[in-house]
């Protein structure tokens, strides 16, 4: 985007998922409950795109934002770093579109390093803030290799959603929202089978 459409950055505010989640947490727009993950240990996978590549291209990586978000879901003592981490962290093996390529043997062999890294942390949850990484770790590495204690692979936003304290909207707000919704469905010709909602 920066290369091709630099003007976009003047026209819009462009934010990453990290920026947005940090903003919600800092401003108090969302509230998180650390006790949701009490007794669990978590480790952090760093997807190449938002870390190494972003650091190379824009001189900015999201390491601190990432950790800030996780620290709001977990007690600090329950966060275990991988080795190596940060800009030297290992790729999960599904980067560059590998998940969708026919070289699954290579993709799996590539991921062995990652599986070992995860195992060594002893964590039972690994956070993967990227669709490819999450699929690779959850659907492939966890089956092919011994990842030790690790049982769960969660998207970063899945982790946040699980720790989220949701306060239902007021009746007033629900009513307003339903009216907007009905107008939209009418406009788009969306008809749902169940009538009771």
């Amino acid at each position: 985007m920066k290369t091709w459409f630099p003007e976009a950055f003047e026209e819009f505010r462009v934010v990453s998922i990290y920026d947005l989640l940090v903003e919600y947490i800092q401003s108090g727009r969302i509230k998180l409950d650390k006790s949701r993950f009490a007794g669990h240990k978590v480790t952090l996978h760093e997807p190449c795109n938002y870390f190494r590549k972003s650091a190379a291209a824009f001189g900015q990586d999201y390491s601190s934002e990432y950790r800030y978000i996780v620290k709001n879901c977990f007690e600090e003592a329950d966060i275990v770093e991988m080795y190596p981490n940060g800009l030297n962290n290992h790729c999960c093996g599904a980067g560059g579109g590998a998940w969708a390529m026919p070289y699954s043997q290579e993709r799996i062999a590539y991921g062995k390093d990652k599986a070992d890294q995860i195992k060594e942390t002893g964590a039972d949850i690994v956070v993967a803030p990227c669709h490819n990484c999450r699929d690779q770790i959850m659907k492939s590495l966890s089956k092919e290799f011994d990842m030790g204690n690790c049982k769960e692979t969660l998207y970063l936003w899945e982790l946040v959603a699980q720790a989220l304290i949701i306060e239902p909207w007021s009746e007033e707000e629900v009513k307003r929202s339903h009216a907007l919704r009905d107008a939209q469905y009418e406009r788009d010709g969306v008809e749902l089978e169940s009538e009771e909602f």
Partner: protein, 237 residues
């Protein structure tokens, strides 16, 4: 190409628009390949060899190999290279030199599908809208732990604060995963929207080395934001 003598002539030239930092400045130290998880996966190839081949003008050999595709473009090599070689740019360039119908797997097909129908998996607009509506009902009521009364997915809503894209994999095969963000938006009372067309958030052109398609994809994200007068674009992960 192992064990054969290779004769180079003046005509042996790389088809990549090479600049010194893309290959020729390499002094073959092998820092790249020694820290590369893909080393040893493709017989005859590793990062250093591929860079070396390019600087000797033998890039067709690398293009014909599966090396550029088994390499995940993770960038670990480039981060460590003492000569500052732009290894990713070079390897991605090698991917783009592959004939389009020889691009492995569904990546190129998906890229074309996206250009034609607005998402990599060709999900039709009406199916998409119905799915969002049905999932909304589930989230609103059925989620026993955390019901979100009043929730729906605002589609094509003008003047929203944030416009988002969607990874076509989710509506296609893991629709429940869409709800994580929805719960967050609900709790934050975000004023958000998604476009009913061209909502794809994954740019496979990036992976196939197809700059034109990649640019078109980014362009669409911007056009949606303009049409709907959104203030903020949430860039996909």
């Amino acid at each position: 190409m192992q064990n054969e003598t290779i004769r180079l002539s003046q005509e042996t030239k790389s088809r990549l628009e090479l600049t010194p930092e893309m290959a020729s400045r390499c002094y073959t130290c092998a820092t790249c390949s020694s820290g590369c998880p893909a080393s040893g996966l493709v017989p005859g190839w590793d990062a250093r060899k591929a860079i070396r081949a390019v600087s000797l003008g033998l890039d067709q050999e690398v293009v014909d190999s599966k090396w550029p595709w088994v390499c995940t473009l993770c960038g670990r090599c480039q981060y460590a290279c003492p000569q500052g070689i732009q290894i990713l740019k070079t390897f991605r360039g090698l991917r783009s030199l592959r004939e389009r119908d020889q691009v492995p797997g569904p990546l190129h097909k998906g890229t074309m599908m996206n250009l034609e129908r607005g998402n990599n998996l060709g999900i039709p607009r009406d199916d998409f809208l119905i799915l969002l509506a049905e999932l909304s009902v589930e989230l609103m009521e059925d989620d026993e732990e955390k019901p979100c009364p009043g929730f729906y997915v605002p589609v094509d809503k003008e003047n929203a604060n944030v416009i988002v894209t969607i990874n076509s994999k989710e509506p296609f095969s893991e629709p429940d995963d869409l709800k994580f963000w929805w719960q967050i938006f609900y709790a934050a009372k975000e004023d958000w929207t998604v476009s009913s067309t061209n909502w794809e958030g994954v740019n496979w052109g990036l992976f196939t080395g197809d700059d034109a398609s990649m640019k078109e994809q980014v362009h669409r994200v911007l056009e949606n934001a303009r049409r709907l007068k959104a203030k903020t674009i949430l860039y996909p992960e």
